[in-house]
Symmetry: C2
Subunit: 148 residues, 2 copies
């Protein structure tokens, strides 16, 4: 798992320049949870808080990374593309961006079965940014997955 | 209007570092339409197409800028904060990101009245990215506006 986590972080920074510009770093990483952090400075907006676009991009990457980890852990080689995203901004983020996405294996049984059966599926994942222990944003992404 | 358009572009690049990192530039700008462009290179992803997070951030900025322009044109000084965003990714973007947001003045009469009456309102705007003349993404943002 440690090797996969390192590969994920390197892939982001090498192949998605915006992830490097945002300074996103992996904090905790397993087959069921991905936690990332990004500093405020490169992600600040006109209000001196985290930019809505950065919050979305961090959440979308966290969901994508979680999907990638969960599939790799199952030795499934697949392309993962975000098909739809929805985000609610609940509270302004005045410091570092902390984002967590959990892979609920029970909820993903059916979508993963569809992937095995047809080679394609859609996995819906949520990612949450918290600030001072409170929910700041909630993101839901629909990731279209296609077996290679 | 020209001065407002210049001010908008400068505000983005000066106060939102990510907008500079994405290379967003204003192409056309009026009180009813805002069109922007961003090059692919800083916004590329693992698939060699535009990163979902960049597409969202460009669309969210375009909607924010359009709201800002429409309010400035009416001499309304207000803070504008994205409260909710939804995006559908329809087609991969393999070149520059072209995004357009139109301000439908007729549809915004009621929300603007609420702003005048109570000092607060929510303006819903759509932004669209096209590629090769076809719709690539459709974004809807709910912008919470508060009179200063």
């Amino acid at each position: 798992m440690q090797a996969l986590c390192a590969e994920l972080g390197q892939t982001w920074h090498r192949e998605i320049p915006l992830s490097a510009a945002m300074g996103i770093e992996i904090v905790r990483c397993s087959a069921t949870e991905l936690s990332v952090e990004a500093p405020l400075a490169p992600n600040i907006n006109v209000h001196g808080t985290a930019f809505a676009g950065s919050l979305y991009a961090v959440a979308a990457l966290t969901g994508w990374g979680m999907t990638w980890l969960a599939l790799k852990a199952r030795e499934i080689d697949a392309s993962i593309v975000l098909a739809e995203g929805h985000i609610r901004y609940i509270k302004a983020v005045r410091g570092s961006i902390h984002c967590v996405c959990r892979f609920d294996a029970a909820a993903q049984v059916r979508p993963l079965e569809r992937l095995t059966d047809s080679g394609r599926s859609v996995l819906v994942l949520e990612a949450v940014v918290t600030t001072d222990g409170e929910e700041a944003i909630r993101f839901e992404g629909k990731y279209a997955v296609r077996r290679r």
